[in-house]
């Protein structure tokens, strides 16, 4: 993949707020959760994870872009996108505890770890897969423009709607889950 910094950030925002969000909403109820934990809390944790992944992801993209400068091809091999998952997971896990989204201890013995790990890894995988093929079909210009979404209005509509309506939808769902 040959991404510009702007393309990296745009791509992460669009994919997380579309594929990542839908995956989270559809699958949260099926991830293993500790006994006695309500579905509402499971949604709170998974949606919180998705948002933290997105926000932290912007910072990670700046780091990746810096590392990309060391490569002659100035590209980002697909496999690095996969390997990034475990690296990105740790700060998200810590942040979720710091923000109180995941209750209790942040160590490996916490009962929420499996829920987090399943959600984080599967979401990362689904988002990565979407970037490998489907996104090119929906937005043919995406790969030609360094991962940015075209400035041409007809092409901009879909990512715009997906990103911003998607984000509003997440915030709404979070608000409902938190009530």
């Amino acid at each position: 993949m040959t991404l510009t910094l702007g393309g990296r950030i745009q791509t992460r925002l669009v994919l997380m707020s579309s594929v990542g969000l839908l995956w989270t909403l559809a699958m949260a109820r099926f991830f293993p959760r500790p006994a006695g934990v309500s579905l509402r809390l499971a949604y709170q944790i998974t949606l919180g994870t998705a948002i933290t992944m997105t926000v932290f992801g912007i910072a990670w993209e700046v780091v990746y872009h810096g590392l990309q400068q060391l490569r002659w091809d100035k590209d980002w091999p697909s496999v690095l996108g996969l390997l990034a998952g475990p690296v990105e997971a740790v700060p998200v896990w810590l942040a979720l505890h710091a923000l109180g989204i995941v209750p209790g201890d942040w160590g490996l013995s916490t009962p929420f770890l499996m829920l987090f790990a399943m959600h984080f890894s599967s979401t990362s995988m689904v988002v990565w897969l979407a970037g490998q093929g489907p996104l090119r079909v929906i937005q043919p210009r995406w790969r030609f423009e360094g991962g940015t979404f075209s400035r041409r209005p007809p092409s901009l509509t879909v990512p715009f709607l997906v990103t911003y309506i998607g984000m509003l939808f997440v915030l709404g769902a979070l608000w409902l889950a938190g009530r």
């Binding site: 040959t2 510009t4 002659w72 090119r136 079909v137 929906i138 007809p154």
Partner: protein, 530 residues
């Protein structure tokens, strides 16, 4: 598919003299005297043509060339909603891949060999999805290509498609978009602006020997003519003039199978010149013949610029060694669609030319198999690399080549060899292309710093606009524009996208937006017409 390999083999024949620059004009004028009057005019009127008695055909857009450049654009336009009746392809090629096959074969690539192109740079699929790796995995029923494309380039070398995979894809897509309905077998002679806007393309039909020249009247015209011919170095040209018919010194893109055959039948020494991907493939073939067929060939490899190691600052450092500059593809990947593309887009003139030159140039891929071969050759003493150029080339009385080499350190030496194989690439002077030469003289076009046509980022040829009509160029003729790797599958597809966007701004076709794109992709999957 095997017999298709022969389709374009006549594309590049042995070169004996510089191509005549005004072939087109001379041919047309000699055939029809009234044409010479017409050819003196830079802008044509419909009445001129009627008076000259030339048959005129109409088309919304004409693509001249008929190779992969035309194919990429026509594919895009069909997907963007244009019907076959709106498009005409003028070509002397029988299939869009004919030239490509010819070049592949000359550079020692058989159907099962792999190109220097990545998985998603599909010339037959505007989305690059599925990539060639997926197609190859399905066709060959093996997950190996998928593993390779997944782990490239960290755990394995870049996946590169087989010639067969590419040809199969083009053949399928050509049938799907109705290529045959749009193709007119003819040789385009000149393109002239029309007084009322648009263009005229003067052509000589090929399938009807009795037919005289005819004219296509179109609103837009696209030029994708490919390389004029292999580059013939001055010493090689002088040698041929001195020894007409001598076959000991050949250009790698000319048919030269005899060289390999003779080296297998009797031991010999070959001098190879060039350090690009073609030189690497020639070396692979020579070493393969040593290993598999028992040839005892000795190879002297000459480098004009001997690269001893990685070059450039830490943030822009290209690997190199043993004479070669290494990069997986002809340009860094980001020059195609990433940050380097953004830089070329932002620059202009000399700065852009300098960046393109630093990213491109003569390079080859660092493939493990080739590295092993050459290591063995150096160790066993039958492969010797030198930083030198040929100063003098002639035949000895015994029929061998004798050449004087000027080494990088300033010394000179004399070398006798059985063959000289020149793999220094293609001629990229537009003046060697009759139609483009005419365009520079009469059409308002000019050249970029790198010698290609001066084109806009939309690939419109600057200075050639005619009313509402626009002239575009893609492929090697657009070298020096805002896209660096113009002469690649990616470059041809990228150019097609930009041209299609520009045409959609003129209201000619629909921009393939998200929903149209998805629908069209599904049609591609099911092999249904666009």
């Amino acid at each position: 598919m095997t017999d298709k390999l022969g389709a374009g083999t006549a594309q590049f024949r042995r070169i004996t003299a510089p191509a005549a620059i005004s072939v087109a004009r001379a041919e047309a004028a000699s055939a029809r005297p009234e044409l010479s009057r017409l050819l003196r005019c830079g802008v044509w009127d419909d009445e001129f043509l009627t008076a000259a008695g030339l048959p005129v055909y109409d088309s919304q857009i004409v693509s001249v060339g008929g190779g992969l450049g035309s194919f990429a654009l026509v594919d895009f336009l069909r997907i963007a909603g244009l019907t076959t009746s709106a498009i005409t392809v003028l070509s002397d090629l029988s299939a869009p891949y004919a030239s490509f096959v010819s070049l592949a074969r000359a550079s020692q690539l058989g159907l099962e060999d792999r190109l220097r192109s990545d998985s998603s740079s599909r010339i037959d699929n505007i989305w690059g999805c599925p990539g060639y790796a997926v197609s190859e995995a399905l066709a060959e029923r093996t997950p190996a290509p998928l593993w390779r494309v997944l782990t490239e380039p960290l755990l394995s070398e870049y996946f590169t498609p087989r010639v067969r995979t590419v040809l199969t894809g083009i053949e399928r897509e050509a049938a799907r978009i109705g290529w045959g309905e749009m193709l007119v077998r003819s040789r385009a002679l000149v393109v002239r602006r029309r007084s009322r806007g648009g263009y005229f393309v003067l052509t000589q039909p090929l399938d009807d020997a009795c037919a005289g020249p005819s004219v296509y009247r179109c609103r837009h015209v696209h030029l994708a003519l490919g390389h004029p011919r292999p580059r013939l170095a001055p010493d090689l040209l002088a040698f041929r003039n001195l020894h007409p018919g001598a076959s000991q010194a050949v250009q790698a893109y000319e048919p030269h199978e005899d060289v390999y055959r003779q080296l297998v039948s009797s031991p010999g020494t070959i001098v190879l010149r060039g350090s690009g991907i073609t030189a690497s493939r020639v070396l692979e073939r020579l070493i393969h013949d040593r290993d598999a067929l028992g040839a005892r060939t000795e190879i002297l490899h000459l480098f004009r610029h001997y690269v001893r190691g990685a070059t450039g600052p830490p943030w822009f450092r290209r690997p190199g060694g043993n004479g070669f500059a290494y990069q997986p593809f002809s340009f860094p990947k980001a020059a195609a669609g990433g940050q380097l593309r953004q830089r070329t887009l932002a620059l202009s003139g000399d700065e852009r030319a300098d960046l393109i030159a630093r990213m491109g140039g003569t390079t080859t891929a660092r493939r493990a198999g080739w590295q092993r071969q050459l290591r063995r050759g150096r160790h066993e003493g039958w492969y010797l690399a030198e930083s030198a150029v040929v100063r003098d080339l002639r035949l000895t009385p015994s029929g061998r080549l004798r050449m004087t080499l000027a080494r990088g350190d300033g010394s000179e030496c004399q070398v006798d060899a059985d063959f000289l194989l020149d793999a220094t690439g293609f001629e990229d002077d537009l003046r060697h292309h009759a139609l483009l030469s005419d365009l520079l003289d009469c059409g308002g076009a000019s050249t970029s710093v790198l010698g290609g046509l001066d084109v806009e980022p939309s690939f419109e040829v600057r200075g050639t606009r005619s009313g509402a009509g626009r002239m575009y160029a893609s492929g090697i003729a657009s070298l020096g524009g805002a896209l660096a790797p113009v002469d690649s599958f990616w470059g041809l597809t990228h150019a097609a996208l930009e041209i299609c966007d520009d045409l959609s701004d003129q209201g000619m076709c629909a921009v393939p937006g998200a929903f149209r794109s998805m629908g069209q992709w599904w049609r591609w999957v099911r092999n249904r017409q666009p």
